[in-house]
């Protein structure tokens, strides 16, 4: 029921750090976050980690386990063998603050750039009418818990620091798609924004974001690809281009 596991946890701060080896007790049914907490309580009181709900709902305890972006609270110890060393490191795409805690302010800056939901004019509160089938498309993206694992794994963000300025990342491309597909959002320039301000063209659909999403949101298939198609439709379809030019089609 209980065994001693080998853990390697990255310890350090913005100035650098190292993997530190620990031997720590593991019990039946535990997840990686339990083990990190045991290290805090028994061996290393100042080991820094973010966490809140411990139930996969708040998206705080994001880190990398054996190199894979994961929620620590949803990574069960039973997925490892008893002799395997479990390596826990901070999210690589963001600057380290301390130990497993990174500076994710990039994401909050990107969130602030997206024009907010625009309420429909002349529709009073309480008078909104939408069909379930129509809200479901956006609801899928609103399941997002903002763990930023998709942002961490996306190679556009992860491997090229210079892309961060021009590229919003998968989390905010689904936000754009969510607003675009909202039945009552009054703006019609969500696709333009995705192209011009969010750099949707930089995504080359490797689907890594979809793979790591703990909410199983089909980021690529249901959000990014439809948004790319809208961009193509608006900007590169010759008939649409002509229609816009001669005033048959409104922007």
């Amino acid at each position: 029921m209980s065994y001693d596991a080998k853990f390697r946890v990255w310890r350090g701060d913005a100035d650098g750090g190292d993997l530190v080896d620990y031997t720590v007790e593991v019990n039946d049914g535990e997840v990686v976050l339990d083990i990190i907490h045991r290290l805090q309580a028994t061996q290393s009181g100042d080991l820094a980690v973010r966490w809140n709900c411990k139930a996969g709902k708040c998206g705080s305890c994001s880190a990398e386990v054996n190199g894979m972006p994961r929620l620590l609270c949803m990574t069960r110890m039973s997925t490892f063998t008893e002799t395997e060393t479990v390596t826990v490191t901070p999210l690589r795409a963001f600057p380290v603050i301390r130990d497993l805690v990174t500076d994710v302010s990039f994401n909050y800056a990107k969130a602030r750039q997206i024009p907010a939901f625009a309420p429909p004019e002349g529709v009073a509160p309480g008078e909104y009418r939408m069909q379930q089938v129509d809200v479901e498309r956006s609801q899928e993206f609103r399941k997002c818990i903002e763990c930023f694992l998709c942002q961490d794994t996306c190679h556009v963000v992860r491997d090229h620091e210079t892309n961060k300025e021009a590229f919003a990342g998968p989390r905010f491309l689904i936000r754009a798609a969510e607003l675009d597909m909202h039945p009552l959002d009054a703006r019609d320039d969500r696709a333009d924004f995705a192209r011009e301000e969010q750099g949707i063209g930089m995504c080359n659909i490797t689907k890594c974001c979809t793979e790591v999403c703990p909410e199983h949101i089909k980021i690529t298939d249901n959000a990014i690809i439809p948004m790319k198609e809208r961009v193509v439709g608006r900007h590169y379809d010759p008939l649409v281009w002509l229609g816009t030019k001669i005033g048959l089609r409104k922007r």
């Binding site: 009181g45 100042d46 709900c53 998206g59 907010a116 309420p119």
Partner: protein, 640 residues
């Protein structure tokens, strides 16, 4: 040290960034005031995201018989008539507007066939009343308000070039003390950045506490690490009062296995959508636990209970949907009688009652949670569940209309940190609506207070700042002291074992002895390392709050010699009408906590008239009953 203290000036400071805090911030900013939000975690991670079932509001979208009067009545029944009736009235009246408003911020609730906001059944609610998004309603509420705040910042950026000119979020900051002028008037707050450990001072003439609950004082809880009773303790130390602290809600259905997730919530929607509770003999035991006050409102046979899901107008609801305190006690009794599940809970079964497709549609997060954490497929097998500490009804004594805290000018409180609204027991779904209704009122109340001050701003003595800094650094000064984690575990065990779901005078007294001992030991804690993102240090500071709040719970629990809602005394097992009209008020005097009785104001006649005399007789004393105006007759068909 003080010379370089980082200092900010605001009109309104909101401590807490859950549903109540964010709604208060929106209200204060929309009143034109410069507003700051203090967030202990990252923005958007507050415990509100854990709320699953929905927001109670009598919109009447699914059953048009619903009205604020019926919602008010359900709320008072759920709280066993100990609620602040004025708060319950405001809440029932204003909840629909607060929900509809969220749609204008961009919220996307599940819909009825005619395109309105869908509403679901929940324990203690007469009609389908909970606006919801699957079983992740709290996340929708937080994200919606988070995005509304961002949109207000975008407005400000267009106007002034600075998105944070009138509304700023300070993420990962913990407040350790409120600042007051020599007369006790609120002047701001003092805290530290979790990231760097650097101190920060906020000057603000109005402070809204929206810090949530106290669950981390108990061992088995659905609450996150943030729920350390900070706002409760800040109010207490500032000279305000806490009311109803003996009432702690144990949610009947928390996960019981595996051990690492023990306490994590299993939403009441499982029962609202058809799930039933069974013991190890396969019996639906809740039929044996309908108390006298609710007899006549619940089905007596399984057949009738099952018919209710499709024909609620002609059948009574199943007893699995009794208020939470009743269900939690029933589960406790079954387990004690040896009819529990293998891991010490009971079975909650939806797999035999709904198709896998229905379950996946209505309860996706629950399916996910059990699959990932317990390796249980809830479409195929029952869940094992048991009571978990979930919510504290008690909190800061406030003025119902303005949310102003008793006794401290400039201090306000809303949401779980405030007391009175839910009486002795909160109904599911009434929390999210509480956050919205009283969050907005607190924001407006604080704004009106600040506007009333004109240019006057209270002053703080430098000695107050120095003392706050010294107190926060104390754990680094001590060598050879105790480990804060060890102390925390002992406190949680004490509260769980001795002031838990079933209480006796003897056990509570033992708990008070242990808490007194822990309080002394807590003055000699030692933390490793330095101030940068140091969880050991953070816990050492939070412990002071948890100990103060735990003592309030225990002292009030000892004084109240009856059983009502979230307070069950084995030595006083029945509800006593003589205790109904009395609140227990906790206050701090130096290091000592005092608790005293305070009579409640009598309910207004038109509200009393919403109840049958027979029902009032179950709660009121003969003298109170004699003073009730002539009985009214009901025409709304409810209560049948």
């Amino acid at each position: 040290m003080t010379a370089e203290l980082e200092t900010y000036d605001y009109d309104v400071l909101i401590i807490g960034a859950g549903g109540a805090g964010l709604r208060a911030a929106i209200a204060a900013r929309e009143s034109g005031l410069r507003t700051a939000i203090i967030c202990k975690s990252l923005f958007g991670k507050a415990h509100t995201v854990m709320a699953e079932g929905g927001i109670a509001a009598s919109m009447g979208n699914v059953n048009s018989n619903d009205s604020w009067q019926v919602h008010f009545r359900d709320t008072m029944r759920g709280g066993k008539f100990l609620n602040s009736w004025r708060m319950a009235e405001l809440h029932a009246k204003e909840a629909p507007d607060r929900v509809w408003e969220l749609e204008t911020y961009g919220a996307l609730f599940d819909r009825t066939p005619d395109g309105r906001i869908s509403q679901r059944n929940f324990g203690g609610h007469e009609y389908p009343r909970l606006a919801h998004v699957g079983d992740r309603t709290g996340l929708e509420l937080i994200r919606t308000m988070q995005q509304k705040i961002v949109s207000l910042q975008q407005d400000d950026e267009r106007e002034s070039g600075d998105p944070e000119s009138r509304l700023r979020v300070f993420a990962e900051v913990t407040i350790t003390d409120l600042l007051q002028d020599p007369s006790g008037t609120v002047a701001g707050a003092f805290g530290y950045w979790r990231e760097s450990g650097r101190f920060v001072r906020f000057n603000a003439p109005a402070v809204v506490l929206a810090t949530g609950g106290i669950g981390k004082s108990f061992k088995v809880t659905s609450n996150s690490w943030e729920y350390t009773g900070d706002g409760h303790a800040l109010a207490l130390r500032a000279g305000s009062n806490l009311v109803n602290m003996e009432f702690v809600q144990f949610h009947p259905t928390g996960m019981v296995w595996p051990p690492s997730v023990k306490g994590i919530l299993v939403t009441e929607s499982v029962r609202g959508d058809g799930g039933v509770l069974k013991n190890s003999e396969g019996k639906r035991f809740m039929f044996d636990y309908v108390p006298d006050v609710f007899r006549g409102q619940y089905a007596q046979t399984e057949e009738e209970g099952d018919r209710w899901y499709t024909d609620p107008d002609h059948n009574k609801r199943p007893p699995e949907l009794l208020p939470r305190d009743e269900v939690a006690r029933a589960i406790n009794s079954e387990v004690k009688a040896g009819r529990g599940s293998p891991h010490g809970g009971v079975f909650l079964d939806i797999s035999s009652r709904r198709t896998p497709e229905e379950i996946l549609k209505k309860l996706p997060s629950m399916h996910h949670q059990f699959k990932e954490l317990a390796d249980v497929d809830i479409t195929k097998e029952p869940m094992e569940v048991g009571p978990t500490c979930h919510y504290v009804m008690g909190g800061v004594e406030v003025d119902p209309d303005t949310a102003a805290a008793a006794g401290v000018p400039g201090l306000f409180a809303a949401g779980e940190v405030s007391g009175g609204m839910h009486g002795s027991n909160r109904l599911g779904g009434n929390s999210l609506s509480d956050l919205l209704v009283f969050g907005a009122r607190a924001g407006q109340g604080a704004a009106a207070y600040v506007q009333g001050l004109g240019d006057r701003r209270p002053d703080v003595d430098q000695a107050v700042i120095d003392a706050a800094a010294a107190a926060a650094l104390a754990p680094f000064e001590e060598e050879g002291g105790e480990n804060p984690y060890t102390l925390h575990q002992e406190m949680q065990q004490t509260m769980n074992d001795l002031v838990g779901i079933i209480r006796t005078a003897d056990e509570i007294e033992r708990a008070l002895d242990r808490l007194a001992e822990l309080k002394v030991r807590a003055q000699h804690l030692t933390v490793e390392g330095h101030r940068q993102f140091n969880p050991g240090w953070h816990l050492a500071l939070d412990l002071r709050n948890m100990l103060a709040v735990s003592e309030c719970v225990a002292r009030a629990a000892l004084l109240r010699q009856e059983s009502r809602g979230g307070h069950t005394r084995d030595d006083y097992p029945t509800m006593d009408p003589h205790w109904r009209g009395r609140n227990l008020i906790c206050s701090a005097h130096g290091d000592a906590i005092e608790v005293r009785e305070q009579p409640m104001s009598a309910m207004r006649g038109d509200l009393l008239a919403l109840f049958d005399t027979d029902e009032l007789a179950k709660y009121l004393t003969p003298e109170e009953l004699a003073a009730v105006p002539a009985p009214a007759t009901h025409t709304d068909g409810s209560g049948s």
